[in-house]
Symmetry: C2
């Protein structure tokens, strides 16, 4: 009945390697990387706590990527590019709360990022990251947004990708 019938889990997905490419968001759901068709942050409930399983970076939020192993990911909510209505302060709920809990528990988060290279575009699995820190600041619309500092776990295959 549904495209997706996988159980949510944190960590690597068996059969999916770092660098694997996917053309469409639903494909990420099919293989179990990220269950949402649109939402950027996926999470599960473990012992009554929400824990992030994966995030997708598509460029619709103002994320700053400093290096191949560090990324700053913007929390969800209040982005008029994404949903209707006026910009509002992001709240520590849903995906934002889940990423906070991922930091607290040190749980790895799968990172998928969109790419565009010579007319070809899609999503690439970048591997596992740790939520190293988070803070709140004023975003482009003058409202508070959450920023999550993600650090790539070392020892994973190096990614050489033209992402711009």
């Amino acid at each position: 009945d549904k495209w997706v019938n996988t159980t949510k889990q944190t960590g690597d997905i068996p059969g999916v390697k770092v660098g694997d490419k996917f053309r469409y968001r639903p494909e990420l759901a099919i293989v179990g990387l990220h269950s949402h068709f649109q939402c950027g942050i996926d999470y599960m409930t473990e012992d009554g706590e929400m824990i992030a399983t994966s995030i997708v970076e598509s460029g619709r939020y103002a994320n700053e990527t400093e290096s191949p192993v560090v990324m700053i990911y913007t929390g969800q909510g209040g982005n008029p590019k994404v949903s209707k209505g006026e910009p509002i302060d992001q709240k520590p709920e849903r995906g934002n709360r889940a990423l906070m809990n991922s930091k607290a528990t040190g749980t790895p988060v799968r990172v998928i990022r969109s790419y565009k290279f010579r007319e070809e575009s899609g999503y690439v699995y970048h591997g596992l990251y740790i939520v190293d820190n988070f803070w709140r600041k004023r975003g482009d619309y003058g409202k508070f947004v959450f920023k999550f500092l993600l650090r790539r776990i070392s020892g994973q295959p190096k990614l050489t990708l033209c992402n711009s």
Copy 2:
């Protein structure tokens, strides 16, 4: 690069029979029934005129279906259930214009309708219809909408379907 690479055409699609079911909108595009993922009215340009190739009825607009061979299809635009913004008068452009031209030229239009039966849902190809008439009236939001009277071409396989 794209899911869809078919040439648009009016009339039946080779290999697709009346009664064929599809689970998702993109599947309609893949087989060539209807190229749009969301838009309800598909059309092509022929001799400089837009001609409707197919319509999808999903229940988001207020359509009245009187009988198995007649349907009244609402034009596109100004529906807050579908797109952002305030309700506005529908304009004789895009899909609406194309359906008007289909009436003028007597060109058959493929009709696909959503169905729901015992937890199973999807889309069914209902066959070819003629645009028999159209008019303008006040819709649910007080704005003008177009109504298209479609009449099923006789001689096609009978459809026995639980559509409600």
